[in-house]
Amino acid sequence: MSESTTIWVIIVAMGLGSFGLRFLFLGVIGDREMPEWVLRHLRYTAVAVLPGLVAPLVLWPSATGGQPDPARLVAAVVTLGVGYVTKNVLAAIFSGAGTLFLGLYFF
């Protein structure tokens, strides 16, 4: 198999696989009623996945070779705090980005 063919195989397999994962429940369950205990768990999907996704990125950023970085840590705390208090995603993004740039400048 040539290298180009291998890459096409990877692209197609990843495309089909990713779509399969995204369609898994939407497609198969669709309009059918789900039991209350399942729904109860699903209500927490977002808060159970997204924090776990960012935690390692915040604590061990790849840009610093995995070393904790004060500017990024402070920016993360400010972003989360502003988002929690104001409930405003945009305000949180801009406060966090502003803090990060100030932090990178000073630290």
Partner: protein, 237 residues
């Protein structure tokens, strides 16, 4: 034919999705640059972003391909990074499950971190939304984000020079996720789920194929459900 179009809700979604162009843009561009530098021809770089639309999985695949990992390992690892999409799919089903199959397929194709997180936040904030409004909101969010992902990949592939490291673009993704998590922490159950998720993700970070995140996701969901049940029971007695 039933209508799934609600104009004002679509535009509200569009406005909410618009800022994420600032995040998805640099991320897609970076993929275009890195993939081109890894030696992929333009048609393959673009196919990656159009067929897969999952930045983290695409970077994982590139990294493993550069390390000459076996094809099966490349595919399995990249898909493991995307396992969370199955959880998003399950979480969206109570809201968008009643759509016709081909519309559900379109939703599935465009189910990414940003469209999922913004939509689920909106559905929880306004439980009275109709199916048409929920669908229109989702479409509105994705409308500015998705084309920008393709376009940014193209620009990155064509420009092909590295973005200066001093921009700290690596942190654009964590900041937007954190900004979305803040408003989601509405109850004790949500906070508990988030805390358990963070602790488990860090504890199980050593697991291969990003499986630590799946452990964290399941542990977080169980915590949220448990705390919610306990709070309810306490209210009743």
């Amino acid at each position: 034919m039933a209508s799934y179009w609600d104009r004002s809700t679509f535009w509200r979604g569009f406005r909410d999705g618009l800022p994420f162009v600032l995040v998805v843009g640099p991320f897609g561009m970076l993929f275009g640059v890195v993939a081109t530098e890894a030696g992929l021809p333009l048609v393959q770089v673009m196919s990656f972003s159009i067929v897969v639309i999952a930045g983290a999985a695409q970077f994982t695949a590139l990294q493993l391909m550069a390390d000459n990992a076996p094809t099966v390992v490349v595919i399995a690892s990249a898909l493991a990074v995307n396992l969370r999409m199955a959880m998003y799919s399950a979480s969206m089903t109570p809201h968008l499950g009643p759509l016709p199959a081909w519309r559900r397929a379109l939703v599935a194709y465009s189910l990414v971190d940003q469209s999922y997180a913004l939509s689920v936040m909106e559905y929880e904030k306004r439980p009275e939304m109709t199916l048409a409004q929920k669908t229109s909101y989702f479409a509105g969010v994705i409308a500015p984000v998705l084309p920008n992902w393709y376009l940014a990949t193209l620009v990155g592939a064509l420009v092909g020079q590295s973005i200066p490291g001093s921009f700290a673009l690596d942190f654009a993704v964590p900041i937007t996720f954190l900004a979305m998590i803040g408003p989601m922490l509405r109850t004790k159950a949500h906070v508990a789920a988030a805390v358990v998720s963070v602790v488990s993700a860090l504890l199980f970070a050593f697991l291969p194929w990003n499986l630590g995140l799946i452990v964290a996701g399941i542990a977080g969901m169980m915590t949220g459900a448990f705390v919610e049940l306990r709070t309810e029971n306490k209210d009743m007695t």
